[in-house]
């Protein structure tokens, strides 16, 4: 397993037009640890996560991966596309909607980045892709197109596509929210394995069980601000802030029957 990255987020601001989506966000993400982002819908969790690999361009502040500023060479001066791609190579991302490429098989989806970005030969890439797919339990589905896979299988292919690139940091944006309840477990299990191997992970999630059991740090966001950053126990079981209490109350009400 390659070394794990750390992320430093300092005074990051992001506007969508006149809407202030991230307000002076400060956050340290330690290497080899799992950080879960929770909070109500529209609070800016995805936006913050996407700033880490610069899929979303922040307006001010700094996001540093292992000390290196991403997106900008200096404040206000955009980084070249080549340099940005170089940095993204070691950051994996998994999306709520899987975003597999539908015209490629599972194996081709995983091999694509290895061939185009890592410059591997086709056969080398396919070997590596097969290993990654075996790791997420899909050795027997390599030749399937995404249309012939369940949601849980598609998401595991998406995870294999990311880990095959040997990232030092993995970003997950609600990886199980689009899945039927009975398929959530298989995806969370793969994520737990990754966490156990010492990958730095940042996970936006509504799975409080995952946050409670797997996270080392839980971040609660509301209205573009970080309201609480602490251990899972302190945020989820003994919250002091009224906003966190009210969020968890709604969560428990919705999930009890």
């Amino acid at each position: 397993m390659p070394a794990a990255s750390s992320v430093e987020i300092r005074k990051v601001n992001k506007h969508f037009g006149s809407f202030h989506a991230l307000k002076d966000v400060d956050l340290s993400i330690p290497p080899g640890k799992v950080t879960c982002l929770i909070g109500p819908s529209g609070s800016g969790k995805s936006t913050l996560l996407r700033c880490i690999n610069f899929l979303e361009e922040y307006d001010s502040g700094e996001v540093r991966i292992d000390g290196q500023l991403i997106g900008y060479d200096a404040p206000g001066k955009k980084m070249s596309g080549r340099k940005l791609r170089e940095m993204r190579r070691s950051i994996g991302m998994v999306f709520q909607q899987f975003n597999l490429w539908p015209h490629m098989t599972a194996k081709e989806n995983v091999a694509e980045g290895l061939i185009r970005v890592r410059g591997m030969s086709k056969s080398e890439a396919e070997g590596r892709a097969a290993e990654a797919l075996a790791k997420v339990g899909l050795a027997d589905k390599m030749a399937n197109h995404p249309s012939r896979l369940s949601g849980g299988q598609q998401q595991r292919v998406a995870i294999a596509r990311a880990i095959a690139m040997e990232p030092k940091l993995m970003l997950f944006d609600e990886p199980t929210s689009a899945l039927d309840p009975e398929l959530v477990g298989e995806v969370l299990n793969v994520m737990k394995t990754l966490a156990g191997e010492g990958m730095t992970m940042v996970v936006v999630t509504h799975e409080m069980g995952f946050a409670a059991h797997v996270a080392d740090q839980v971040v609660f966001m509301e209205k573009g601000e970080l309201v609480g950053v602490d251990s899972p126990d302190r945020i989820l079981h003994h919250p002091e802030d009224a906003r966190i209490q009210s969020f968890l109350r709604t969560y428990h009400e919705r999930n009890s029957f």
């Binding site: 899929l55 190579r89 991302m93 999306f95 597999l100 980045g113 249309s147 012939r148 596509r161």
Partner: protein, 220 residues
């Protein structure tokens, strides 16, 4: 009806039909290629370049094909562009079709889910590779039905080339009718040939569509 006349005019009608197919096929291929380039420019070029391209689209779409052909064939020599009828007709068809093809490609590209492009960006793929490997193949699949449809429409635009004396099917049919006064037979032949051509194109189009979408649709 007097079908024996066909024995005399058959060869020239067939030759006309051959020219029709030639003009249609090359006009479609070149028009598609130019349309694709335009669609990519619209998507990636700086703002001021897209304005110029947009103006081109508006002008071509806003004027009749007939007028464009006249300008090209009779106006061309005034600026040193002296073309024979056939190449002029081909160039005309290419230009005439390009903005329509460009719009078809543009909406095909827009149908590619943005998340699939972001997934490619997130692993560090270059924009060129994203176009080649993701945007083009997926965009083409969405665009295919409309591409086939417009190339069928183009078959019928080829008859306008007769006006600048391209010896295509209508040109031959008109020659036959004025020489023999057999208008009905001549025009029936014209209709039959076109019907066959359109039928063939739409069949090939459907086959192609079934083939390339085989893996893309969810099995129910």
């Amino acid at each position: 009806m007097e079908w024996s006349i066909l024995q005399q005019y058959g060869p020239s009608l067939l030759k006309g039909f051959g020219n029709t197919i030639l003009c249609w096929a090359l006009g479609t291929v070149f028009g598609m290629a130019l349309g694709l380039v335009i669609a990519l420019i619209q998507r990636y070029a700086p703002r001021w370049v897209t304005w110029i391209v947009q103006a081109y689209i508006e002008v071509i779409r806003g004027t009749p094909f007939l007028v464009q052909l006249f300008v090209l064939y009779y106006g061309g020599p005034l600026v040193g562009l002296r073309l024979d009828a056939l190449p002029a007709g081909l160039l005309g068809l290419t230009i005439y079709g390009s903005p329509y093809f460009a719009e078809i490609f543009r909406s095909g590209f827009r149908a590619v889910p943005h998340g699939q492009i972001e997934a490619a960006r997130a692993i560090g793929m270059s924009e060129l590779n994203i176009v080649r490997r993701i945007l083009l193949p997926l965009g083409l699949v969405s665009a295919l039905p409309a591409l086939v449809n417009f190339s069928i429409i183009l078959t019928k635009e080829t008859v306008i080339l007769s006006i600048i004396t391209v010896p295509e099917l209508l040109y031959q049919v008109q020659r036959m009718s004025t020489e023999t006064f057999r208008y009905l037979e001549a025009n029936l032949v014209l209709a039959l040939f076109f019907w066959g051509l359109v039928e063939a194109i739409s069949r090939v189009g459907h086959r192609l569509e079934a083939r390339i979408t085989k893996h893309l649709v969810e099995r129910t």
